[in-house]
Each structure stands twice: as structure tokens, then as C-alpha cells.
């Protein structure tokens, strides 16, 4: 049921025509199995995978209860800088919940105090003040994710990178210290560990 | 015993004097009773035949021509006399006729086994009796002359 809904929700990203929906579904299948769809650019395909990964992180990482104001507080995924996902990210998380909390997506163009209240904060690699963002979220239960090449080097927690045509994850374990985030060993297992 | 004891035609051994009288009368009627000696028991008969006792002056060789022997007699019976006669060489050839009133089979068999020459059952009727005696006497004395 969930799977069917997912397919349905993804299909809405690409438009309303039935043919288009079918195409997207096929593309999604191919992405997951690691095959290239002939009609999509690697760029947009990687973005879509990133969106799914962002959602998937919610299941492999534990947030302390202190990161939420109350029981009704939503789970917030923030996007800082340029929004490369378009509406795709919101499509992916729509109707999903993390520990019974609805997921809300917030877009930021600059560093605001609200940025530090996100549970997951994606920082586009084009965002200039990378170091400041990392500093402002340091010690807070905010999972910082970016596709910036030196993100982990700069004490960011998770970094997306492409290897062998596949999207991979690099993690800086030290960066999570004091943040209250609990990274699942399973995630650690599949991720590349950043070593300075 | 009105004849010489040395020349006897018929020796009659019969204990019953009445029977003896009847036999002698029957023989006389046929003129056969002239040289007849009657003895009344077996013992006397043996003495006579073998020349013993009162007849010691008699010779055995002077055999009677025929002996009429009653079967049932006191002291020595007819069968014993018959046996004695047949056992002695000298007397063996003497014809012996057994006379008896018994028709019992066993007597017949016993006498024939001892070598009797003839056998006659003494009938009650006198006519038959005389007839039988006469026939026997005639036969043995006249027809069947024994060798001297």
C-alpha cells in the first residue's frame, strides 16, 4: 500500500499526463536498481535520489526529544540555499511521518535562527556561507547534509557524493558529537567514514 | 464149555450170561456152536489165549478161529483184550469181532484203531441179534478161513 502510494506521489512530480507518470515511475525503478534512464539527465536523477535519501535518513538517525517543542511539533526538513529539488522533496515526504510526527519542509535562502531548529538541514553546495551554517548548528540536534565537496571536512555531518555513477554518503562521526543525534550503525556501515 | 480147550472154533468173551446164552443159542441154530468156549471176563480171555493161569496147559498156537468180544466188561475190558491180542505176533492174525450194545462213535473209532475185524451193535430185537451173530460166525469161520 505504501509502495503504491509512493509511486503515485512521485508521478505527480513530473506532470499530470498519464504517459508522464508512467515515465517517472519507470525512471524511479531504474534509479533504484542503478540503471540509467535514457531520457533523464544524470543531474536531475541524482537530485531525485537525494530527496529519497533525505527522507530515508529519518529512519536511520535518532533525534533527542529535546529537539521538538512538544508532542505536536512537526519533523522539519530544511533546504538552505538554492532549491534544486523543486517540488520533488515535498512529494517524497508527503503523508510520511517520523515517529508520528508529520514532516514539514522549509526553504531558507539565508541563515536564520530557524535554520537551527530543523531536524535535517540540506545545504546546497552553491551556498556561500557553509562554515557559518555548520557553526550555527554545531552542538544542536540538526543533521546537516550537503553535496558540497568539503562539507565533511568542514565538520558537516553528511555529504553526498557520486562514485561510479552512484550516489554515496560520507559521514563525519565526530561532527555528531554533542549534537544528541544517534546515527544507526546500519547507516555507519554503508556510509563512508570521513577521516581527516 | 462143552468142547476141548485145545481145539476152539469160537471164543466168546461176554460178561452178561443172558447175552452169552442168546449168542450161543443163535450160533447153535446155525450149527456153529460146537467148538465154542465162553469166558465171562477179559482176564480169563487173556489167560485162555496166552495159556496162563488156569489155562497154562493150553498152547498159544492153538488159536481160536474167531473171537467174539464184548466191549464192556469188568476187570479187563474188551479193548484191552483186543490190544493184547494185536500186540503179540502169535495172536495178531486172529479175527476179532467186537460186540457191544453201545452205538457211541468213540467206541467204534477206538476199536477200529486197535485193529478190530468187525463190529456189531447188539440189537434189542432177538431176530436181528441172532441174524447178526449168525452172519458174523459164518463169515469168519467158513468164508474167511484163517491160516493154521
Amino acid at each position: 500500500m505504501q509502495v503504491l502510494m509512493k509511486i503515485f506521489s512521485i508521478s505527480r512530480i513530473a506532470g499530470t499526463s498519464i504517459a508522464g507518470r508512467f515515465m517517472l515511475s519507470a525512471a524511479m525503478v531504474l534509479v533504484v536498481t542503478g540503471m540509467r534512464p535514457p531520457l533523464q539527465s544524470p543531474e536531475s536523477r541524482a537530485t531525485q535520489v537525494k530527496a529519497v535519501f533525505l527522507y530515508n535518513f529519518t529512519q536511520f538517525i535518532g533525534w533527542p526529544s529535546s529537539s521538538f517543542d512538544d508532542a505536536q511539533s512537526p519533523f522539519v526538513i530544511g533546504v538552505l540555499g538554492q532549491n534544486t529539488f523543486g517540488t520533488y522533496l515535498s512529494e517524497v515526504v508527503e503523508n510520511e511521518k517520523v515517529n508520528d510526527r508529520p514532516i514539514t519542509i522549509k526553504y531558507f535562502s539565508s541563515i536564520t535562527p530557524e535554520v537551527g531548529e530543523c531536524e535535517i538541514l540540506f545545504i546546497d553546495k552553491s551556498f556561500p556561507a557553509m562554515k557559518q551554517v555548520i557553526q550555527s548548528t554545531h552542538g544542536k540536534p540538526v543533521l546537516t547534509v550537503s553535496d558540497h565537496e568539503h562539507f565533511t571536512k568542514q565538520a558537516g555531518i553528511l555529504r553526498f557524493y557520486i562514485e561510479g555513477g552512484k550516489l554515496r554518503i560520507e559521514i563525519n562521526q565526530e561532527a555528531t558529537a554533542g549534537s544528541g543525534l544517534e546515527v544507526s550503525s546500519k547507516l555507519l556501515r554503508i556510509a563512508t567514514l570521513y577521516k581527516p | 464149555m462143552n468142547s476141548s480147550i485145545h481145539d476152539v472154533d469160537i471164543l466168546l468173551v461176554e460178561d452178561n450170561p443172558d447175552d452169552a446164552t442168546l449168542v450161543m443159542r443163535a450160533l447153535k441154530k446155525c450149527n456153529l456152536g460146537n467148538n465154542l468156549i465162553h469166558l465171562s471176563d477179559g482176564e480169563q480171555a487173556l489167560n485162555f489165549i496166552f495159556g496162563k493161569g488156569p489155562f497154562s496147559d493150553r498152547k498159544v498156537e492153538d488159536k481160536p478161529k474167531v473171537i467174539l468180544l464184548d466191549l464192556k466188561m469188568p476187570k479187563v475190558d474188551g479193548l484191552q483184550v483186543l490190544k493184547a491180542i494185536r500186540e503179540d505176533e502169535r495172536t495178531r492174525a486172529i479175527p476179532v469181532v467186537i460186540m457191544t450194545s453201545s452205538g457211541e462213535e468213540k467206541d467204534i473209532v477206538a476199536t477200529y484203531a486197535s485193529g478190530v475185524n468187525a463190529y456189531v451193535v447188539k440189537p434189542v430185537g432177538f431176530d436181528n441179534f441172532s441174524k447178526a451173530v449168525a452172519e458174523l460166525g459164518m463169515f469168519w469161520l467158513l468164508v474167511n478161513q484163517s491160516p493154521k
Partner: protein, 488 residues
């Protein structure tokens, strides 16, 4: 049943062996079935636990599309030699990665049917489908395929153990039954042996040994009691027999003595009674011959009467002796031609009674009987017939026979004086006469003699008559198989 004629010993042994074998087999079969059922369940459970672990481990790999990691996880299944194949499907049901034990690619479905968290048996394999979830979020599906060799190995082991146990039990049961059956078969065997001695050697003094107070013990007691009873009865019978033998011996002795006396009596009768008769007759005759002329007519008649009665008494004595002699005479059976006997007898008698009688002799069969006795019978009957018909104008005597109820019946028929049937019961008695001596002479012994002879031949004698019309005398002789049939 095959065991029906085998000894009890073997029967008991087989009963024990077969019973224990059946129980063991049943128990093992039940256990075996139970094992098969529970093993499948247990194994399915074990496999789904394994599937859960693997699924749990592969969440991240699926979530973040890390094929190598997923592969690595599946490769770890190599340690489980029964896992034939494993595969991970993504949440859309597409094959993500797979592992197979052998190089030959297993036939894995490219797309999974929508079966979740289930297991089922395919051929002889067990297939488990386990959803891969992280925090209740479905990430995909794990497919595990395992052979059931483990079960078969186990079942084989059980079968081996079972066979060994059954074989051992058989040996134990055999040894035990061998030992235990003795308590039953031994007393039975002992009883049988005793019974055999009794039935074969007729020795009723033996006793079976009692082994216990069970049914066989009771049987042994009863058997011994019966033996004792038989023995006692035998002894009683024996003593009775001995007594009886003694009695018979004594009786026989007595009888012999009586017989001897009787013989002596009849001998003296024949000898001693006849001598005085002879004298009476003889001297009467002499009196008549020598002194008849002085006696006168009356005296002569008196003498004649004396002589006639003397003769008659002599005849009586002769007949009586013949009759009593017959009692001890045994029948000597020879083939006899009754026709020729009748002819001879008739020839002899005809002269005596004058030749005016017509005698018809029919053809008669050969029979088996005593020659002199049956001649006597024929003689008496024919002489009677001639005698009693003599006074008729045309006397006719017929002699013949017929067959009736397996008997030869002979008859002598005359048309003479006959007799009154009223006196029939006196006909065959000794000294019984139905006519007085003045009419027909006779001693009254003849028919009694005939009756006695026929009885000795197991035959019957009877007569039919009518006064002044004649009489028919019948006698029957049972026919024997080997006689020659001259008529029929």
C-alpha cells in the same frame, strides 16, 4: 494362520515378538510423522528468524541503494549450507540483488508477488519472504530459499535410530520371550508329554507335575484326577474281570463235570438199559420157540406184547440218545446237494412204507450245512410224510424248496393224516405225539431232533396242516454267499 500347528512355545514367542514389534513400529511411525510436521514448522520459524536478521541488516543497503553491502550481507548466508538462494527486492518489488549457493543461477522471480511475511513450500524447498522495514517503513522484501535436506538428514537419522532400536528391541524381546514363554510352555509341554505317555503306553499310573496355581496348574490337577479315576476304574474292572474269570472257570468246570456225568449217563443208558431189554426180548423169544405149544394162544399173545414193548423201549432209548448226542455235536458245514440227499433218503425209506406213495422231488439248491444232520432232518421229515400218508388211497409226497428273505426254505408236503393246528405248539417237543401209537408208530423224538438240528443251522422250522388233508413241514437255512445257486 501359519502358527496354528506350531508348538505353543513358538506361538508365545511370536505373539510377544509381533506385539512388541507392532507397538514399536507404531510408536516410531507416530514420532516420525510428528517429527516431519514439527520440523517443517520449526524450520520455517528458524528460517524466518534468519530472514528477519538478514532483512534487518539490509535496511540501510536498500534504503541507500548500496548494492555491494547488500551483496555482502547475502553472501554471509553462505555459512548456512541449506540456503539455496537469497534475494533482496526493493519496495516496488524489483530485484535488487541476489545470492545463490551454486553457480547455476536459481530461478528467481524478477518481480515478487505481493506476498508479505510468509513462508511456503515449493517442491521440496522452503521459501520465506520477509519484508525489509526500518521503523515500520517498508524498504523492500527478502527472499530466502532453503532446501529441506536438514529435515531429510534428521529424518534419516531418526529412521536409522528407529531401525536400530527396533532391531535391538527385537533381540531383547526374543531373549525375554524365550525366557518368559517357559513359564507357560513348560507346564503345557510337561502335560502334553504325560498325556502322550498315557495315550501311547496306556500307562495310567503316571502323573503330570504341577508347576503353579494358574489355569495350567488347574488343568494338570484335573488331568491327574482323571488319570487317578481311570486307574482306579481300571483296577476295579480288572478285579471284576478276575472274579468273572474265576466264576466262568468254576462254571465251566461245573458244566464239564455235569457234561461228563451226562455222557456217562447216556453211555450207561445205551449200554446198560439195552442189555436187560435184549434179555427180555431174547428169552421171550426162546420161551415162544421152545415152549410156545404149552402156552396156548393167550400166552403166546402175551409174550408177543412183551416183545413188542421191549422193541419199542429200545427204539425210544436209541432216539433219546441220538437227541442228546446232538447237543454236543458241532455243525460241520459242507456244500450239500439237497436234491440228491432227498433222493437217497426217499429210496431208503420207500421200501419201508410200501411203494404205493408217489414221491415228487423238485430241483433244490446246494446249501452249506452238516451232511449227516441234514440227512437226518430229511430222513425224519420224509419218513413222517410217508408214514402219515400211507393209509391214503393215493398218497403223494412232494419235496421242494424256494427262496425267501435271504433264506432257503425247504418243504416236505404230504396229503396224509395231517394234524390239528390247535396242538401245533406241542409239535416239536420231545416225546410229544399228536397221534397215538396204535394209529401210527413213533417215539415222539423225530421232530424234536429236526427242530434241534435246524436251530443249530441258524434256521427255522414250522408246519402247516389240516386234519385228514395233509401236512407241510418247512425248514429254512440262511443262504451264504459262496453257495451255488441251482434255481432262481
Amino acid at each position: 494362520m501359519l502358527l496354528r500347528h506350531s508348538p505353543i512355545k513358538r506361538k508365545i514367542r511370536w505373539v510377544i515378538l509381533l506385539t512388541s514389534a507392532a507397538v514399536l513400529l507404531f510408536t516410531f511411525s507416530a514420532y516420525f510423522v510428528y517429527e516431519v510436521v514439527t520440523f517443517r514448522q520449526t524450520y520455517a520459524r528458524q528460517l524466518s528468524v534468519l530472514a528477519k536478521i538478514v532483512a534487518n541488516n539490509s535496511t540501510a543497503a536498500l534504503a541507500f541503494n548500496i548494492e555491494e553491502d547488500a551483496n555482502e550481507i547475502l553472501l554471509a548466508l553462505k555459512a548456512e549450507k541449506h540456503i539455496l538462494a537469497a534475494a533482496l527486492y526493493d519496495k516496488h518489488g524489483n530485484l535488487f540483488t541476489h545470492y545463490s549457493q551454486s553457480d547455476a543461477a536459481p530461478s528467481l522471480p524478477r518481480h515478487l508477488p505481493q506476498k508479505q511475511g510468509s513462508h511456503h513450500f515449493e517442491d521440496s524447498n522452503l521459501v520465506v519472504l520477509e519484508p525489509v522495514t526500518q521503523n515500520n517503513n517498508a524498504l523492500g522484501m527478502l527472499y530466502l530459499k532453503s532446501d529441506m535436506d536438514a529435515m531429510y538428514d534428521r529424518l534419516r537419522l531418526y529412521a536409522t535410530i528407529g531401525s536400530v532400536v527396533i532391531a535391538l528391541s527385537f533381540v531383547v524381546a526374543y531373549v525375554l520371550s524365550n525366557r518368559l514363554q517357559r513359564s507357560i510352555s513348560r507346564p503345557v509341554h510337561a502335560l502334553t508329554r504325560t498325556a502322550k505317555v498315557v495315550s501311547e503306553q496306556k500307562d495310567y499310573s503316571v502323573r503330570a507335575l504341577k508347576s503353579g496355581n494358574d489355569e495350567i496348574g488347574y488343568l494338570t490337577d484335573a488331568f491327574n484326577q482323571m488319570l487317578a479315576e481311570i486307574q482306579a476304574q481300571n483296577e476295579r474292572i480288572q478285579s471284576f474281570n478276575q472274579e468273572l474269570e474265576l466264576t466262568i472257570e468254576k462254571r465251566t468246570h461245573d458244566l464239564e463235570a455235569v457234561n461228563k456225568e451226562l455222557e456217562a449217563f447216556s453211555y450207561s443208558v445205551s449200554h446198560d438199559l439195552r442189555a436187560p431189554l435184549r434179555s427180555i426180548n431174547g428169552f421171550s423169544r426162546i420161551l415162544l420157540e421152545d415152549h410156545g405149544h404149552v402156552l396156548g394162544e393167550e400166552g403166546v399173545q402175551t409174550l408177543n406184547t412183551i416183545m413188542r414193548n421191549g422193541l419199542r423201549m429200545g427204539q425210544l432209548i436209541d432216539d433219546l440218545l441220538a437227541f442228546s448226542r446232538l447237543g454236543k455235536q458241532s455243525v460241520t458245514r459242507l456244500n450239500l446237494d439237497m436234491t440228491s440227499i432227498a433222493k437217497t433218503v426217499t429210496e431208503e425209506l420207500k421200501g419201508q412204507y410200501g411203494n404205493k406213495t408217489e414221491v415228487i422231488i423238485k430241483q433244490m439248491p446246494q446249501i452249506q450245512g452238516d451232511s449227516s444232520m441234514l440227512r437226518q432232518v430229511m430222513q425224519n421229515l420224509v419218513s413222517n410224510a410217508l408214514k402219515y400218508s400211507m393209509k391214503k388211497e393215493r398218497p403223494v409226497v412232494e419235496i421242494g424248496s424256494f427262496k425267501e428273505h435271504g433264506e432257503h426254505v425247504f418243504y416236505v408236503k404230504d396229503n396224509g393224516a395231517g394234524f390239528n393246528m390247535e396242538y401245533y405248539n406241542k409239535l416239536f417237543g420231545v416225546f410229544q405225539r399228536l397221534h397215538n401209537g396204535g394209529e401210527f408208530e413213533g417215539t415222539g423224538v423225530g421232530l424234536a431232533l429236526v427242530h434241534r438240528i435246524i436251530t443249530k443251522h441258524n434256521g427255522r422250522i414250522w408246519a402247516e396242516a389240516k386234519e385228514n388233508e395233509g401236512a407241510t413241514f418247512y425248514f429254512s437255512i440262511p443262504s451264504t454267499k459262496n453257495e451255488t445257486m441251482l434255481y432262481e
